[in-house]
Amino acid sequence: MTGWFYLKMNKRADAGNFLQLFIKFIPVFIVSGFIAIVAWNYLNEDINTHNLETYILTKDLLYSDSCLALSDSNVHPMTIDVKKISDEKLASCFTKSNMGYRITLLDKDKNEVKSAKSLTVRQEGYLVKTKSGYPVCKSIPEYRCSQRIDPILYSSDDNKKLGFLVTEVINFVG
């Protein structure tokens, strides 16, 4: 009984000492935290190239005959061959480790003509558009989503028509 009593008293004394030590080190913890935040921000510097990457992606899609550009004996940049719009074509034309995208071809009245995507299951889940933009993407800081609309020509039944290419891009920025 006496041994148990002393053990209990010692434990209380240890806890008191630990608390005192903890209080004494609080300034050190605060300064360490500040420096850790500064270091973390510095090492993970945010260089926002999302819009530029989206722009280059659309140029890749619209200018190259290995992507969507219409080609006969010549390549016709900014003119889309509707037959080329497929998931398989996009997979061989432009794939990037941290980026996924969906393209939608609209006619001049903004009706959908054809669509294709190069997205993982997760990216597809995040790239859901509502009236307020991309809510899932907005709530996850590691991802950036955006939409770009380019006026283009598209060839259908040997006719060239005016339309729009909507490119929706999701980018993992870590």
Binding site: F25, I47, E53, I56, K59, Y63, S64, S92, N98
Partner: protein, 128 residues
């Protein structure tokens, strides 16, 4: 009764505080000097610049040759299989590095020639 022990405890705390503060101040100045010479920023930017230049050259409708300069204290490497650009410092023992991805196209070949302070990218289109 316990006074001597208390004084020793107090001195020990002060010594540990002093050591920790010294360490923190040195760390802060080390980080600060890095920020001022912005080497890591150069590494991040060079990786992105090379990757996006690769994509821009690839998207060109015509054959093109483009030369991009970078600082000669940086080493640039390019992995064509994964389309990844690796940039690191040439300083011995320096582990600062960064990587950036470019867009992969199965039908296009972009030739890269990496020199000491520049990379020359040229496009050679093949129909697919």
């Amino acid at each position: 009764m316990n006074k001597k022990g208390d004084i020793l405890d107090l001195q020990l705390v002060w010594v540990i505080d002093l050591i920790l503060f010294t360490f923190l101040i040195i760390t802060y100045f080390a980080i600060d000097s890095r920020i001022k010479n912005s080497e890591l920023h150069d590494i991040h930017m060079t990786a992105r610049e090379v990757a996006m230049t690769y994509d821009a050259v690839k998207s060109s409708p015509h054959d093109v040759v483009y030369s991009l300069n970078f600082k000669d204290n940086l080493a640039v490497n390019f992995d064509k299989d994964t389309c990844t650009v690796f940039v690191k410092s040439k300083k011995p023992g320096d582990t600062l590095n960064s990587k950036s991805y470019c867009g992969k196209n199965n039908f296009l070949v972009v030739n890269d020639n990496i020199m000491n302070d520049r990379v020359v990218l040229s496009k050679n289109e093949q129909k697919g």
